[in-house]
């Protein structure tokens, strides 16, 4: 066998006829089953149905100005979903399962970033770094909206605000995802809200 054989595999082939041929009424369950069996075309249809939601989430979590990182994260999420899809049993809605996986991908990468910062001599605590950095202020003449204000928050506070106030996670769920205590989640949230109100009132 050669590497060409891999290139012809359904998942990596350039042509995805099954995505184009998917009937418009094909249920998500059917697409999931096909994707679980290795049909990249069906998976493309699932990607296109959920890309906007996941990309929007990644934009908010990474700071709305960070378009490139949000795109990379979105790609990572769907690659992870492809890998884990065989274990999806349909006990929850696909959208919820996918959303939770997206949050996990983001948090794992954020933890990796912190470890790398720590290895090169930083504290590895993004919030500490943000607190020590000069305050990033918008021009007084510039309108501050929530998305831009979010991008200026310390990462930990932004993550909790996005998950709790925008995405609807509970403090218990956030604590489980971030390996912290619910009280820590609350502290981050209240700090985020305070900072946001200050910025939005400017």
């Amino acid at each position: 066998m050669t590497s060409d054989q891999f290139a012809r595999d359904p998942a990596s082939a350039q042509s995805t006829p099954s995505a184009r041929d998917a009937p418009s009424g094909a249920s998500e369950t059917t697409l999931v089953r096909r994707a679980q069996a290795g049909d990249a075309g069906a998976f493309e249809a699932l990607y296109r149905a959920h890309a906007g939601r996941i990309h929007g989430l990644m934009l908010r979590l990474s700071g709305s100005g960070n378009q490139m990182r949000a795109e990379e994260l979105t790609q990572d999420v769907f690659v992870r979903v492809w890998e884990r899809l065989p274990s999806f049993r349909g006990e929850s809605a696909l959208g919820s399962w996918l959303h939770r996986m997206a949050v996990n991908v983001f948090l794992e990468q954020e933890r990796g970033d912190r470890r790398r910062v720590a290895r090169v001599g930083g504290s590895g605590d993004d919030d500490d770094l943000a607190a020590d950095a000069p305050a990033r202020r918008e021009s007084p003449d510039e309108r501050i909206d929530l998305e831009r204000a979010l991008a200026l928050l310390p990462p930990g506070a932004r993550t909790v605000f996005v998950l709790h106030d925008i995405e609807g996670y509970t403090h218990g769920e956030i604590a489980a995802l971030t390996h912290t205590a619910p009280g820590t989640s609350r502290a981050h949230l209240f700090r985020a809200r305070q900072l946001l109100m200050e910025r939005l009132d400017q």
Binding site: E71, V79, W82, L146, F161
Partner: protein
Amino acid sequence: MMDHPGLDILNRYADGDLSPTERSAIDAHAAACGDCRSTLDGLARLAAAARAARADVEPARDLWPDIRSRLSPRGRRSAWWFAGANRPALAAAALLLVVGSSLVTALLVRRPPPGRPTPASPAGVAFAAADARYVSAAAELSAALETQRPTLSPATVAVVERNLAIVDSAIAEARTALLADPNNRALVEMLAASHRQKIDLLQRTIHLLPRT
């Protein structure tokens, strides 16, 4: 009138986390306290803005081609990567691949051809982003695979080199084409996709190795 409640209490009020008695006390205080009423109004406005912010945002470009290039086939783990090679051999193959591919990347990114400026086109930017991702993943894989290197036999190395030659051939073709046409977005994406495909395979290979 009660003392000013702390910000944490006002947040809990806004979240509906207080008991009816506690809420009544805050209501009574806020009715007579402009500062606390203003804070509660601010929290309510922020909550409304947060609800409105939960919107889908389609990516500015189509991410599917890059995603597709990284999808590993299902049920094909007995493909050529795994045929005739034991696990240490695969680890060595992975390590050599990472080193070889890193060299290609370094050539492409850090030393543009004489007389050619470093591409600042969208294609160049796309490649730089993909390459940064590749380099990061390659570094982690290298560290993981290095631990298997002492277990390799000469026969294993031979298997590794044969497999590496096949892969390097594919990389070399893309590299030659890209050096001749550094602003060709399709070539950039092709090479980046090859890198990612191999990284993905290497990660899977590592997962199959026995843990030490």
